[in-house]
């Protein structure tokens, strides 16, 4: 379109796109350290309570956790496809559908996660509210579940933001809003993939520890 002009602080649209990408990457580096604080807590308490952590980890629902991991990985693939269609100047409707699929899979993830939380509460695994565990391993297990809830909770908050963002972009893409400006889709994609990336590490740390007995 002819009316595509950069914002006043930029010399060109290329520069503007470049800057938007760079900004998102710097933000994600910051986010890495945000989750890093939680991972540091996990690391030191796992060093202190290896048995309690292993015992507690086996109480999580590995089936639902694995399904959820697959859901999130698939959503990332759809997002990646959506970005590539947009980059190839493909149809806005295709981009919109792919982003819609991405957001719906994100919602599915949250649904499964909610089911898990209900199950955890039912199994007396909520520290500070209702927590029962083998006394010898209780302290490590309680710390594990505390971190489990905080880590998955903060991840879910990030995912919710992603769902809103990608959902809104799906509608706009369907209406053809990104025909001449592609970078918003790619940047939303970066954020989505990052949230996926966090889960890739949370999954083995929270669900798989101690499974071999």
């Amino acid at each position: 379109m002819a009316d595509a002009r950069p914002a006043e602080q930029f010399a060109s649209l290329d520069q503007q796109r470049d800057v938007a990408h760079a900004g998102m990457w710097v933000f994600l580096a910051s986010e890495t350290l945000f989750f890093g604080g939680l991972l540091a807590a996990y690391t030191v308490y796992r060093i202190w309570y290896p048995e309690g952590f292993a015992a507690a980890s086996t109480k999580t629902d590995v089936v639902l956790g694995t399904i959820n991991t697959a859901v999130l990985l698939t959503s990332s693939a759809l997002m990646g496809a959506g970005v590539r269609v947009a980059e190839a100047r493909g149809s806005g409707r295709a981009v919109g559908l792919l982003l819609l699929g991405t957001a719906l899979l994100g919602l599915a993830f949250l649904g499964v996660k909610g089911t898990e939380y209900v199950k955890d509460a039912h199994d007396h695994l909520v520290p500070g509210y209702d927590f029962e565990f083998d006394e010898r391993l209780r302290r490590g297990a309680e710390l594990f579940f505390l971190l489990y809830f905080i880590m998955t909770g903060i991840h879910a908050v990030h995912l919710t933001v992603g769902i809103l963002l990608v959902g809104a972009f799906a509608v706009r893409a369907w209406r053809g809003a990104f025909a001449d400006r592609l970078e918003p889709v790619a940047i939303a994609g970066l954020y989505w993939h990052f949230v996926d990336l966090v889960w890739v590490f949370l999954y083995p740390l929270l669900y798989l520890n101690g499974r071999a007995g």
């Binding site: 006043e8 602080q9 930029f10 010399a11 520069q15 470049d18 800057v19 760079a22 900004g23 710097v26 933000f27 580096a29 910051s30 986010e31 350290l33 945000f34 989750f35 890093g36 604080g37 939680l38 540091a40 807590a41 030191v44 308490y45 202190w48 309570y49 520290p127 500070g128 209780r138 302290r139 490590g140 309680e142 710390l143 505390l146 905080i150 903060i154």
Partner: protein, 550 residues
Amino acid sequence: MSTIAVAPGRGPDESAIRIPNYLNTGTTLRSWLLTTDHKRIALLYFASLTAFFFIGGAAAVVIRLELATPQGNLIGSDTYNRLFTMHGIVMVWFFLVPAVPNTICNFVVPLMLGAKDLAFPRINLLSWYLFMAGGLLTVASLVAGGVDTGWTFYTPLSTLFANSYVALAALGVIVVGFSSIATGLNFIVTVHKLRAPGLTWYRLPIFIWSLYATSVILVLGTPVLTIALVLLLVERILKVGIFDPALGGDPLLWQHIFWFYSHPAVYIMILPGLGVVTELVTCFSRKRLFGYKFVAWASIGIAVIGFLVWGHHMFVSGQSLFASLVFSFLSYVVAVPSAIKVFNWTATLHGGWIRFDAPMLYALGFIGLFTIGGMTGLFLAALAVDVHVTDTYFVVAHFHYIMVGGMVSAFFGALHFWWPKITGRMYPEYWARTAAALMFFGFNLTFFPQFILGYLGMPRRYHAYPPEYQVWHVLSSGGAVLLAIAYLMPLVYLTWSMFRGVRAGPNPWQATGLEWQTPSPPPKENFATTPVVVRGPYDYRDRAAHPQHG
């Protein structure tokens, strides 16, 4: 430094009267509160930071008054705890951390880069609103009754025992952290992507390198503080045990993640100062910077190594001895890049044609006080010495030499140096020199006795003390009065100069930076045409006969 096309030089007295500049294009309140112009946002920050500086300063005044006598006869211990906590929180997060980045840098960085604005002007404005929101939460906690944990929020005191408004203050610090991250992100992207044609990395002023290093810490350190405070709030509000030893947690984990941010935060506070001083030393000695690349990379070195030393705050806390040894060693290593800078400033001054204008007085004061602060930091990095002086006034004196003697001096130096650019008017030189001298004298009188107090064993954070310490405390309190006067003076004469000062013209210091090649005050879009840079910085040639380094 560069060849650029700007409006031809006008006489100092006729310029800036009817020429449109960033101040007179749009004068409604709305045009200020919704501005995305980095220069106006800088002024919004100036106003807010001044208010916070005097809130934090008022707390310090009461503290020093109480300490003038050995008995606790002015305020009780509980009030005293709340005062020094509020002094720390306000001064660290609402003055020192944003002091130079959000005010001076916000104003001059796009000008120095030859850019029209920062990369994300709306995020810049958002950062100010976040800053104000965090400030209001913190002030609300102060009004409600204050916080008594110290600015470090140590657990389990902060999570289990403190009956004060910890949650509110912690929330305020979390929110102001988002402002920090937004600021750092904006500067990093701007420095990478918005430099004028020809402005390569090694043609950037050291001020930009320092700010870049600062921004790296802001972006990578602050989120760790955020998550630490989130964990603190979870433990305090939901009554679960993350740091509580009775529930299997470790209070030292708080200290680890808190200091992961808060030691580098010291460099957030001092690195911009190191940049300011480099600009001042070169300009007022009319010399090229000695060893440009060393000074530039020393900034980055400080930002990286500064993240590896935080355990020196935990030598007596129960941290493992091996970890203490590692942290002690690395704390010595981080002193090297700082020493490089001091050495290179000194070498730059050598043989220079030095002028003692007010900004230069502040810069020279900075070099002396920063060196003392840094050297005493090495005492504290040594395990055995640290055990003797931990939590004494020696530590208090050490970090005030860095932050107040160093950073606040640099802030005032920068403020005077760029004042003509910001307002278009000169400050009164006589009063400015007087204030600078008084600040130096008052500062040393306030804080040097505290080294002695600490060495003699006076612990920090007590409102009453044995009478044998009184003489040093009286000296310190007397110095604080002088310091307070020295801080109030600029408020008066700078305000006066905004209306009555002599017109400055574009480049009153004959400085080489790009920011001096556009009118003062600058037009809204900064430059009439984008400058093209063909030379390095600090191209001072007044003493062409003198052998040049660099």
